[in-house]
């Protein structure tokens, strides 16, 4: 046996297991996506069990493509993921740079900052939508009501009264509504995942070379220039990693969407799959295949980007 065969042989069980792990679900999804397969049908009971005789070709795909929610779900998936990425990276960098300076109570602040990451997604969603964003009972509603009361009270005050008289009556925003439910999801997931970004950026900042900073100070670089020309390029790699990991996680958001509005006005591909899977497994599987394709496009795009930063 040559030198190479033995290691290959020893690796093979793991590789096989991974292949089976991946290929069986993918194969079944592909299979279901080409047949008529529903959970309940009084009219056509033969469709309730998967069988090749129910072959539908690309019918399921056509059905999904023509369903009014599909394009919207893809757009919405990308909108939610990109917004979260954008916000978490910006907030993460800002907070990490801020708390990287030493100040009293640093330890506690850091622990508090990390803690949202340990809240379960469903709990996070329930807390945000009911206790913070609710237009009547949540913090938002209370804050808006109080602001309105305050403005009303000050309207009659001497000297400054005219200023408050200019204020309109503030309306609380209902985050369960069709137009706004995506924003609610973005807000709560950003809140939960910013700590992840902060954590990664902070470790990276701590490995930043202090002598480079000092050299830059001597070279006349302002704080902004130091950030722009040294810190930001230094964070390139961790930013790429945060973006990639989060993109993959957030493409499959589900709990938040379910809890905020049950998909009303705010669906993504996983949610659409869930809806189809209430009865129509064929359509759900076809949507799943679309989701796999979308995830791969995003992943290839991101891997290129990360690869480029890693090469530098």
């Amino acid at each position: 046996m040559s030198d190479r065969k033995l290691p290959r042989l020893l690796q093979s069980p793991a590789v096989l297991l991974l292949l089976v792990w991946m290929l069986i679900p993918l194969g079944m999804t592909l299979y279901f996506s080409f047949i008529r397969y529903v959970l309940n049908s009084l009219r056509r009971p033969e469709w309730t069990s998967p069988s090749l005789s129910n072959w539908r070709g690309f019918g399921n795909y056509e059905f999904v493509l023509n369903s009014k929610d599909f394009l919207f779900a893809i757009q919405n998936s990308l909108f939610i993921v990109c917004s979260i990425l954008f916000l978490t990276v910006i907030l993460g960098v800002l907070i990490a740079v801020l708390i990287n300076k030493s100040f009293p109570g640093q330890g506690i602040v850091r622990v508090l900052l990390i803690s949202p990451f340990f809240v379960m997604p469903a709990v996070n969603a329930v807390l945000w939508i009911n206790m913070i964003l609710d237009p009547v009972l949540g913090l938002q509603g209370i804050a808006v009501a109080n602001l309105n009361d305050l403005a009303a009270a000050l309207r009659d005050a001497p000297v400054i009264g005219w200023f408050f008289a200019l204020w309109p009556q503030l309306e609380p925003i209902s985050f369960r509504a069709t137009q706004t439910s995506a924003y609610a999801v973005i807000i709560m997931v950003t809140w939960q995942w910013t700590p992840f970004a902060v954590l990664i950026f902070m470790t990276s900042l701590q490995s930043e070379d202090q002598q480079q900073k000092e050299a830059a100070v001597l070279d006349g670089a302002s704080s902004w220039s130091q950030f722009r020309f040294l810190t930001l390029p230094h964070l390139g790699r961790p930013i790429a990693i945060v973006v990639m990991i989060q993109a993959i996680f957030h493409l499959s958001l589900y709990a938040e969407i379910e809890i905020v509005s049950r998909g009303n006005g705010n669906k993504n591909l996983p949610y659409l799959i869930g809806e189809f899977a209430n009865n129509n497994i064929g359509a759900a599987s076809a949507t799943g295949i679309f989701a796999v394709i979308l995830a791969n496009i995003v992943a290839i795009f991101l891997l290129r980007m990360v690869g480029k930063t890693l090469m530098e």
Partner: protein, 334 residues
Amino acid sequence: MGRIVLKSVTKSFGDVEVIPPLDLTIEEGEFAVFVGPSGCGKSTLLRMIAGLEDLSSGSIEIDGQDATQVPPAKRGLAMVFQSYALYPHMSVRKNIGFPLRMAKMAPAKVTARVETAAKSLNLMDYLDRKPADLSGGQRQRVAIGRAIVREPAAFLFDEPLSNLDAALRVGMRLEIGELHERLQTTMIYVTHDQVEAMTMANKIVVLRAGVIEQVGSPLELYHRPRNTFVAGFIGSPKMNLISGTQAQKYDAATIGIRPEHIDVSMTEGSWEGYVGVAEHLGSDTFLHVHGSGVSEMITVRISGDISVNQGDTIYLTPQSDQLHRFDAQGTRIP
């Protein structure tokens, strides 16, 4: 341009006083070397001059102006760090041009200056590389280039050669010496290596625990060390310091004699001993002589042609006009 005066400068980190009050003047155009063992405060002193470290008390004057409160960038000093501190994401060109860009110089002028500096440092072929793709010596040159383009009042070097291998170090030593010849700008150079200090300096400042032990030219320090510390620190191999009855013969608590100032004979001399380790350098041989009763070990330098074997009995005679005498406090007796 480039006269630097330190007036009763002190530095403490918390309760620890690293630099007790210290006065020092570095004249315009001088090549001053701060030398001393590790941890004696050389870097701290240099960083205070650069403005990277605040003074605990005292003041610093640069060209007659009080610079104590002046921010680092405004002092007109350029520093070369031990780790080179190049900006890893920028090309060599961008690295060298960075200080000019920060000074908002016109891009065409920046390019011209960068290329002049790169030419003088043999970096023209590497301008578009990143620091990671350069060798240690090239990185060092980029760091020097970044300092040169600013046309500073003085250059500060903090152990710039200690990350290089021995051969490269000798080469860079010469290059920095030539740079000083060419620019005639004040340079302050920090090192723990007395060979670097001896070879490069106009003025050596020997430091121990933040205290200046002696200031002088290399030969002054070699011929007239002010105390036993300087005597032992300057010169290689080290001066033999002998105390006890032998020293008393010369009315001193300690006498010092350099290995190159001892005459060796196989037949007669003042001190008798046997040869321990012999270090052959080719041109010279350093002998460690034991059992003389004078001192546990005496180092002697003899010509490389003389062959001696371990265990040989040998006679040593110090050249009396080259003998250094020190009192009980270790201070030189004139």
